[in-house]
C-alpha cells in the first residue's frame, strides 16, 4: 500500500532523513518510533505530499506522491503533529469544510460527518467553537478530519501527544479500531504505544532507519541471549555451580543482596533455548526452595535506548 524507497530529505545543508526504505502492507498499523528530531515528522510530510523529497520516491497505492499528488492526496487522511484546526470555526462547520475540500459528494456531506462524529463521539461538541475545546477534543476533531472521505491510508503524527492518560488510552483504542479498515502509519516517541497499537515497528534515529520488525521479534532479536530471573533459597555457591552445569547456560550471576540463604540470580542462556524446566528440576532435586522463576523480556523501551545510544557512539 505504501512504498518508500531511498527517501532522503535535506533542509538546506541539514540532512533530516537519510535513505529510508520501507513498505507498509494493506491493513497494517506501522509504528514510527524515534527520539525527537529523528526525522519522523519529515518522513510523514513527504509521504503526505506536504514536502517534496530531495531524492528517493514514495508511492501510495501505486501512485507516485510527486507525480500524481492529487491522486495520492485522495488516498490519505493526515493528522499533523499540531491538529490543523481553524479556531474560529464551530466543529460542525470545520468538518463540513474539510469534507468539501476533500471532495465528499455534496449530498453525502452530512452523512459522512455523522459517520465520523459517531466514531469519535463528537456530537456533544458539534456546535462548540474549536477554540473552546479541550486538548483531547481538539485531537479527536483532528482525527475526525483525517477520517473524512474514508481514505484507505491514515498518517498520524504523534496522535497522543499532550493528552492526559485517560485520553491517551481512548485515542489508542480508536486507532486500533481504525486498523480494520485503514492502513495506518503512526509516529510516536512513547514506546508502550507502539507495542500496544502496532503490528510492525520502524525505529529511526538521526534520519536513518535503525530497525524494522514486529514489536515481539524486535525484542527477541535484540536480546542476543535469554535472561532468566531466579530467586532460590539455598547456598549461593552451590546453586550457581549447579545451574552452570545445565546445557546452553552462558553465565550465572547473583544479583541482589543475599540474606541468609535467600538470593536472586540472573541466568543468561542462548537465544531460543527455554531452560526454565531444567533449572526448576535441578533446584528441586537439590531440595532448595524455588521462590521465583521468570524470563525477563527486554522491553521496547530498553531496545530503543540501546539502539539509539549505540547510534550515538559512532
Amino acid at each position: 500500500m505504501i512504498e518508500v524507497q531511498n527517501l532522503t530529505k535535506y533542509y538546506g545543508d541539514l540532512r533530516a532523513v537519510d535513505g529510508i526504505s520501507f513498505t507498509v502492507e494493506r491493513g497494517e498499523i506501522l509504528g514510527f518510533l524515534g527520539p525527537n528530531a529523528a526525522g519522523k515528522t519529515t518522513t510523514m510530510r513527504v509521504i503526505t505530499g506536504y514536502l517534496p523529497a530531495t531524492s528517493g520516491s514514495v508511492a501510495i497505492g501505486g501512485f507516485d506522491v510527486f507525480k500524481n499528488s492529487l491522486e495520492v492526496k485522495r488516498q490519505i487522511g493526515y493528522l499533523p503533529e499540531n491538529p490543523p484546526l481553524y479556531l474560529d470555526m464551530r466543529v460542525v462547520d470545520y468538518l463540513r469544510f474539510v469534507a468539501a475540500i476533500k471532495g465528499v459528494d455534496h449530498q453525502q456531506i452530512n452523512h459522512e460527518i455523522e459517520r465520523v462524529a459517531n466514531k469519535l463521539a463528537l456530537f456533544e461538541v458539534f456546535d462548540v467553537l474549536i477554540a473552546q475545546l479541550s486538548k483531547g477534543f481538539k485531537q479527536r476533531v483532528g482525527l475526525a478530519q483525517a477520517l473524512l472521505n474514508n481514505p484507505p491510508v491514515l498518517v498520524l503524527d504523534e496522535p497522543t501527544i499532550g493528552l492526559d492518560p485517560k485520553q491517551i488510552i481512548e485515542v489508542r483504542e480508536l486507532i486500533k479500531s481504525f486498523g480494520q479498515n485503514h492502513t495506518i502509519i503512526l509516529s510516536t516517541h512513547i514506546l508502550p504505544e507502539v507495542s500496544m497499537t502496532c503490528n510492525r515497528v520502524i525505529i529511526i534515529n538521526e534520519g536513518k532507519l535503525v530497525a524494522v520488525d514486529t514489536p515481539e521479534n524486535l525484542t527477541a532479536k535484540l536480546k542476543g541471549s535469554e535472561s532468566i530471573l531466579l530467586e532460590v533459597e539455598g547456598p549461593a555457591d552451590e546453586v550457581m555451580q549447579t545451574i552452570r552445569q545445565i546445557p546452553s547456560v552462558k553465565s550465572v550471576s547473583s544479583s541482589s543482596v543475599q540474606k541468609a540463604n535467600f538470593s536472586k540470580y540472573i541466568v543468561e542462556a542462548e537465544v531460543g533455548a527455554d531452560i526454565r524446566k531444567e533449572i526448576a528440576t535441578a533446584i528441586v532435586r537439590h531440595n532448595w526452595g524455588l521462590l521465583e522463576l521468570k524470563t525477563e523480556s527486554l522491553s521496547l523501551e530498553k531496545i530503543f535506548l540501546q539502539l539509539t545510544t549505540r547510534e550515538e557512539e559512532h
Binding site: T48, Y50, L51
Partner: protein, 255 residues
C-alpha cells in the same frame, strides 16, 4: 469550482467571525464618512457663496464633490488593504492549517483564487458602504450616474490590484504584522513613484507614471473609461496571483 467556493466561504466567514472585519470596516466607514462630510460641507459653502454672488449656473457635483471623494477613497484604500489581506496566508501558516490545505486534494490555484475572492469580497462590502453616502446626493441633487459607475469600476480594479499584492505578500510570511507592513510598503511605493514621475525626465517620467498604481485611477475618477488602465490593473492582478502561486509552490522547497 466547488473547491474554490469552499475556500472562499471559509475565509470570508473567518473574517466575519473574528473582530477583524468589523474593526476594519468600522474604521473605513468612519474615515471615509469624515472625508465625505468635509467635502460635502465645503461644497455647500462654496455653492452658497456663489449663489450670494448671483451666479446662476449650479456647480457640477460630479466634478466638485464626487471626483475628489473618489480620489480620497483611493488613498484610504491604500491604507486599508494591508489590513484586509494580512492574514490571508500568514494565519494559515502560523496555525498550521496550511498543512491541511496542502495535503487534501486541492490544487494551489483553487486555494489562491478562493483566498483572493474572499479578501476581494470583504473589500467590496466596505466599498459598498460608501455608496450609501452618494444616495444623499441623488436625493437632494442630480449627479450624473455614468461617471460614478466608471469611478467605482476604477475603485474595484484598483482595489483588486492592491488585494492581489497583499495576498502575495501574506503568502511570504507567517507573521501577520510583517505581511501588513510589507504590503503597506509596496503599495506606498507604487503610489509614491507617481510623485517621482512628476519631477523625473521625460522617458523616466512616463515609465514611472505608468507603474504608479494611483496614476491609472485618475482617469476613472474623472469618469473616463480607458482600456489601457483596465489592462494595467488586470495585469497587476494576474502577475501578483502568479507570484502567489510561485510562493505557495516554493514554500515546500524552501522549508
Amino acid at each position: 469550482m466547488r473547491n474554490i467556493l469552499a475556500i472562499f466561504r471559509r475565509d470570508l466567514k473567518g473574517y466575519f467571525s473574528s473582530p477583524i472585519a468589523y474593526v476594519i470596516t468600522g474604521l473605513f466607514v468612519v474615515v471615509t464618512g469624515i472625508f465625505f462630510y468635509l467635502l460635502l460641507s465645503s461644497f455647500i459653502q462654496y455653492s452658497y457663496a456663489l449663489m450670494m454672488q448671483q451666479q446662476s449656473a449650479p456647480l457640477n457635483v460630479n466634478l466638485m464633490l464626487i471626483r475628489p471623494f473618489l480620489l480620497n477613497l483611493s488613498v484610504i484604500i491604500l491604507f486599508i488593504v494591508p489590513m484586509i489581506t494580512m492574514r490571508a496566508y500568514s494565519e494559515e501558516k502560523k496555525s498550521g492549517t496550511i498543512e491541511l490545505l496542502m495535503t487534501v486534494p486541492l490544487t494551489n490555484w483553487q486555494i489562491i483564487i478562493g483566498k483572493f475572492l474572499a479578501t476581494f469580497v470583504l473589500f467590496l462590502v466596505m466599498i459598498g458602504v460608501t455608496l450609501l453616502y452618494l444616495i444623499f446626493l441623488f436625493l437632494w441633487g442630480n449627479p450624473e450616474i455614468v461617471p460614478i459607475i466608471i469611478g467605482y469600476l476604477g475603485l474595484l480594479l484598483f482595489g483588486a490590484a492592491l488585494i492581489a499584492t497583499g495576498n502575495f505578500i501574506s503568502s511570504l510570511t507567517e507573521n501577520q504584522i510583517v505581511a501588513a507592513v510589507g504590503t503597506f510598503a509596496v503599495t506606498m511605493f507604487l503610489w509614491i513613484i507617481g510623485f517621482a514621475a512628476d519631477s523625473a525626465g521625460k522617458v523616466l517620467s512616463s515609465i514611472l507614471g505608468y507603474l504608479s498604481i494611483v496614476e491609472h485611477f485618475e482617469d476613472f475618477s474623472k469618469g473616463i473609461f480607458d482600456t489601457s488602465h483596465l489592462v494595467y490593473y488586470l495585469s497587476v492582478v494576474a502577475v501578483m496571483l502568479f507570484l502567489t502561486f510561485q510562493s505557495v509552490e516554493s514554500a515546500k522547497w524552501r522549508s
